[in-house]
Symmetry: C2
Subunit: 118 residues, 2 copies
């Protein structure tokens, strides 16, 4: 996994419109016009986002002159998943700690409630 | 999962030094000086990266005046993992297609080799 590739992938994903374009393309290929519609964005605006996604290898564009339909390429996301997976035990630990803290808090509150009803 | 939070997380991860800092902190908390050393980077340079990671909620910094040790907070990475996971079947499909293509290619080459040795 090359570091530069990961940089590009993460940077491309750091935008809600670009993530929404990927979600749309997961349902099938689409042209710029079709992609621009739901975002209330100009075609040049969408084209800029498509260029970022294309450079990151997250989409490929067809050669058909007018429409140049876009297709999802999910392979770079495999690297993202693998990179992220290394940290799973850390977030699981942090949720376990939170759970333990909440259990202690509930116990304390129950004890407090018992004492005050005595 | 808020979209703005994901934007910040992905943007913070789009840099090799910041990813290396997270990897270092996975081994235990560290101060700015300790973090700066292996990167041959000035302390202000590292501090900038730490600010980005802190804003994204990927690290927390202690209150001890001088060192303000940094600690990994992996929770935002859970959202990254969940977002990415939705695309798993797409990258798995693309690798299956590549496998199928390579099998066809090998078969073709074997047939070609057989014909030329007849």
């Amino acid at each position: 996994m090359r570091s530069g590739q990961l940089d590009q992938t993460f940077a491309a994903l750091a935008d809600p419109t670009r993530r929404a374009i990927l979600a749309r393309l997961a349902g099938g290929e689409a042209g710029v016009m079709q992609l621009a519609k739901p975002f209330r964005m100009s075609q040049p605006g969408i084209s800029k986002h498509l260029k970022v996604l294309e450079r990151a290898g997250l989409i490929v564009r067809g050669r058909r002159a007018q429409s140049r339909p876009c297709r999802l390429q999910a392979r770079p996301l495999k690297d993202v998943a693998e990179w992220t997976e290394r940290y799973r035990r850390y977030w699981e630990q942090s949720f376990e700690r939170l759970d333990a803290y909440l259990v202690r808090l509930q116990r304390k509150e129950r004890n407090h409630a018992r004492k005050s009803t005595k």
